[in-house]
């Protein structure tokens, strides 16, 4: 890895950590609302996979 790659990796690590901290700081009802959205998304994905023709 060269210096630029190292810097990018470090930037990504910090960005991820910051996002995670932000997500942890949200209130519990806000997090539950996010869980509900994630669940709905998962259900939609499962349903569309089930509808997709087998390859």
């Amino acid at each position: 890895m060269n210096a630029i790659d190292n810097a990018k990796a470090e930037f990504n690590r910090i960005a991820k950590a910051h996002l995670r901290e932000e997500l942890c700081r949200k209130s519990w009802p806000e997090k539950i609302a996010a869980v509900e959205r994630l669940n709905a998304l998962q259900r939609t994905l499962r349903a569309s996979r089930a509808r997709a023709p087998a390859r």
Binding site: V35, N39, L41
Partner: protein, 178 residues
Amino acid sequence: MHEALRALNHIQSAGVIESYAIGGAIGATYYLEAFPTEDIDVFVFLPPPAPGAGLLLSLTPIYDALKAQGGIVDKEYVRFGAWPVQILTDANPLIAEAIREAVPVDFDGIPTRIFTAEHLCAIALQTGRPKDYLRVQMFLDQGQVDRVKLEVLAASHGLRERLRTMAALQSRARREDP
């Protein structure tokens, strides 16, 4: 979620259950970042049995009371809106302790109680499925659990070895993917 919590609070004040606390993945989301999970695990203390009643525990009165509050029984769950609620009892000393020491919290103005982060981790270690270990790892990685308290708790419930294995796996993962 709101309807489920209101129903649980109602059956608690009606004496159908002595007390309850939320554990599992929904309990974990109080401390961690949001992640998908399909149900709400509710751990209850049942009221003491009436004199002369048998020793066999039955969850039927709880299910009936939740149905009366608008819940729909669906296999082992009682569904409130999009949320299936699973009722579990204080099946072992660790769970009983977790219910007793649960933390009062507020969900949009509705009072409820959730397991401490340390109890959630200890129960996950005890359950021991890959997804449970993963959850403990999330608590450790996100710095949302008191490591010393968890070690004491794990030791007092015979889980020291599992925690040690978990910590070893975590430090190996860190070395491989810093």
